[in-house]
């Protein structure tokens, strides 16, 4: 019953209405292969969105995570290629570590200098992208050079179905990783003190201090986790597309932030749920991918995402309108 009154329920309702509508315009939407590919599209954006959600609950905003994802992915893959290493665990740990350390840098600057997160993360994003492209390289690592283990990992399916013509398609196993991470973050946010401290800090930093939370620790947790998720999602992305492109993810920040806002999180902090974010990501990806199904030219995609972001923030602004005067 409580769920029915929450903003998550509203988002779910919007999702259902949108699905029905798209399905009416083009019944091909409901084909299993389409749904599977939609779910696959959710994975990387979704994992990044979990990190952005965390930052937004704490009252900040992060535009550096795509740069961190590139750093985690490209550095790791290049080292793997150079060493001719063909494993899974170490590379993913390295991507997570790279992202986490970069997140630590964000946390340090934001906390120490009490500076607006947007401007700090604009700066760190530029620093990291500049370093990766300037020092490490600008060329893609293509399928022929990509470590086999990564490619094989990205190909893994949970379910495999057969089309009428005999070709097969599957539901990527990566979706399980995404949902597992989402569940883990949900549990951390809901049941641990560090998770609650993020909400507390976002709701009122001063009050959080008075209650006895260490705000430095909270900021560190937020930005390190967000960075680690970004690094991980970067490597996962390259393993899913069998390609490591150091110029990847440019402009993806907006899609992810739009998805999180669509999921009901507030830029003022203290609000936001994992379920809402997962639903928000799904809505965004679904609408982006269904434009063609609905007969709309893809050049409209940016306009649609921008308009969705504006619509979502308008609704949330009306919800938690802080009347000045």
């Amino acid at each position: 019953m409580k769920f029915m009154r929450s903003s998550d329920a509203i988002i779910l309702a919007i999702l259902v209405v949108a699905m029905v509508f798209i399905g009416l315009v083009n019944p091909a939407f409901w084909q299993m292969s389409n749904l599977f590919s939609l779910l696959k599209e959710n994975v990387v954006i979704g994992i990044m969105a979990l990190g952005v959600l965390l930052v937004m609950i704490s009252g900040g905003i992060d535009v550096s995570f795509t740069a961190f994802a590139v750093a985690g992915m490209y550095l790791t893959v290049r080292v793997m290629v150079a060493l001719d290493y063909n494993g899974l665990v170490l590379p993913f740990m390295s991507a997570i570590l790279i992202g986490g350390l970069l997140g630590l840098m964000n946390a340090g600057i934001i906390h120490r200098f009490k500076m607006i997160p947007l401007i700090v993360t604009l700066g760190t994003a530029s620093v990291v992208r500049g370093l990766v492209l300037g020092l490490v390289g600008t060329s893609n690592v293509n399928i022929n050079k990509m470590p086999d283990a990564l490619v094989a990992f990205g190909k893994a399916d949970l379910v495999t179905l057969e089309r009428a013509n005999g070709s097969t398609y599957g539901l990527t196993a990566m979706i399980a990783i995404y949902l597992g991470l989402a569940l883990a973050l949900h549990l951390v946010l809901k049941y641990t003190m560090i998770g609650r401290s993020v909400y507390a800090y976002g709701a009122d930093p001063e009050a959080a201090k008075r209650v006895g939370f260490s705000t430095g620790r909270t900021m560190m947790f937020v930005y390190v986790t967000a960075g680690a998720l970004a690094g991980f999602s970067g490597l996962l992305h390259s393993s899913m597309i069998w390609l490591a492109n150091p110029r990847d993810f440019v402009g993806l920040e907006l899609d992810v932030i739009a998805a999180v806002v669509l999921g009901g999180a507030s830029i003022f902090g203290g609000r936001g749920t994992v379920l809402g974010t997962v639903l928000g990501v799904f809505i965004l990806v679904m609408i982006q991918n269904s434009l063609i199904l609905m007969g709309i030219d893809t050049t409209w995609q940016r306009i649609v995402v921008g308009a969705m972001l504006i619509a979502a923030v308008t609704v949330t602004a009306l919800r938690d309108r802080r009347a000045l005067v």
Binding site: M115, I119, L122, G123, A125, G130, I303, V304, G306, I310
Partner: protein, 339 residues
């Protein structure tokens, strides 16, 4: 700030050393000179060539105007992340207009009339974009970050829809003259930039409009209680920002003879950096044109110097980001020292 016993009586000089803004400006002027001298010593033949200065004079104004636009948005405590989108949309609108007017005859033949029309159309597009931002921010009360992030996408999207993807090339020669011409030996873009600087610094320092903007940024609530029409002023400020961004778009497309949806993407970060470096407080209430111009000159000199030393563009991005963070750290240290 102990200028009380200063014997300097000339007002200009006194104003230059008084107050926080003036301190920042003095520091920036010193940085300019230091960079200039250092580069001149490292690469005298290349750096000091008139060609180098001329090329800077041609591409600096676009970024400068965008930085001033960013500062205007920051004065009221806002930010405008859509300026690059607005700039490109303005250029593309003009380009599309020219293509329509020229028909099969080719745009090169278009005369002064159509070019003027193109400038007006581009500026109107910029102001309309600003109007949309102002509406979202002051009427719907959306945070400027998210509002302009969203509209920025919409503007870039409109660019894509108008062009279908590739760049629009071939502007009238009159249009190109705005970006590449010279008047009395001075590059036209530089003249435009100088005029904008003068107009804006007078607007901010000597008019009720400028004072009202700064007061809104200092304390938005008190501004309402004091009878300032906050919503209206925020509308005007974003329209001004949009108009300036469109002007930058005119210069960009005129200089390169092309307009595309993703031109100048790196300008956004640089505009934020130059505005903050020039003494603008992103929380609102403080900012001046001279500071922004000085910050622009120092960073342009710096980046031109690095290019000469064969530092890659990517590493220059790294340096821009690093400087931004260093400035944040410095400002934080200075405000900590004051208290």
């Amino acid at each position: 700030m102990n200028d009380t016993n200063s014997t300097v009586t000339r007002r200009g000089l006194r104003n230059l050393t008084r107050g926080e803004a003036a301190q920042t400006n003095l520091m920036l002027a010193v940085v300019c000179v230091v960079v200039l001298v250092a580069m001149a010593m490292l690469r005298p033949s290349m750096f000091l060539s008139s060609y180098n200065f001329e090329s800077m004079a041609f591409f600096m104004p676009e970024l400068g105007i965008l930085s001033i636009a960013m500062m205007i948005a920051m004065l009221t405590g806002g930010i405008d992340l859509s300026i690059v989108g607005v700039a490109n949309l303005a250029g593309i609108t003009a380009g599309t207009l020219f293509a329509t007017m020229a028909g099969d005859g080719g745009t090169g033949a278009l005369g002064l009339g159509p070019v003027t029309l193109g400038v007006v159309a581009a500026l109107l597009v910029g102001m309309a974009a600003g109007l949309l931002n102002g509406f979202l921010i002051s009427v719907l009360k959306i945070t400027p970050i998210l509002a302009t992030l969203g509209t920025g996408q919409v503007f870039i999207g409109l660019c894509l829809v108008l062009t279908g993807g590739p760049a629009i090339v071939g502007f009238p020669s009159g249009w190109n003259a705005i970006g590449n011409g010279k008047l009395l030996g001075i590059p036209v873009p530089l003249i435009i930039f100088a005029l904008i600087c003068i107009a804006l610094s007078v607007l901010l320092a000597r008019t009720s409009f400028g004072l009202r903007l700064k007061l809104i940024g200092t304390n938005p609530k008190a501004a309402v209680y004091a009878g300032i029409k906050r919503g209206e002023m925020i509308f005007y400020s974003y329209m001004l920002t949009g108009g300036l961004a469109a002007m930058a778009g005119i210069l960009l497309s005129a200089r390169t003879n092309a307009a595309k949806s993703d031109y100048g993407a790196s300008y956004l970060l640089q505009a934020v950096l130059i505005a903050v470096l020039g003494g603008t407080n992103p929380a609102g209430g403080r900012g001046n044109v001279l500071g922004v111009a000085l910050a622009l000159i120092s960073l342009t000199l710096l980046s031109s110097g690095f290019q000469m030393m064969r530092v890659s563009n990517h590493l220059i991005d790294f340096i821009w980001g690093g400087v931004l963070i260093a400035v944040i750290a410095l400002n934080s240290w200075r405000s900590w020292k004051r208290t």
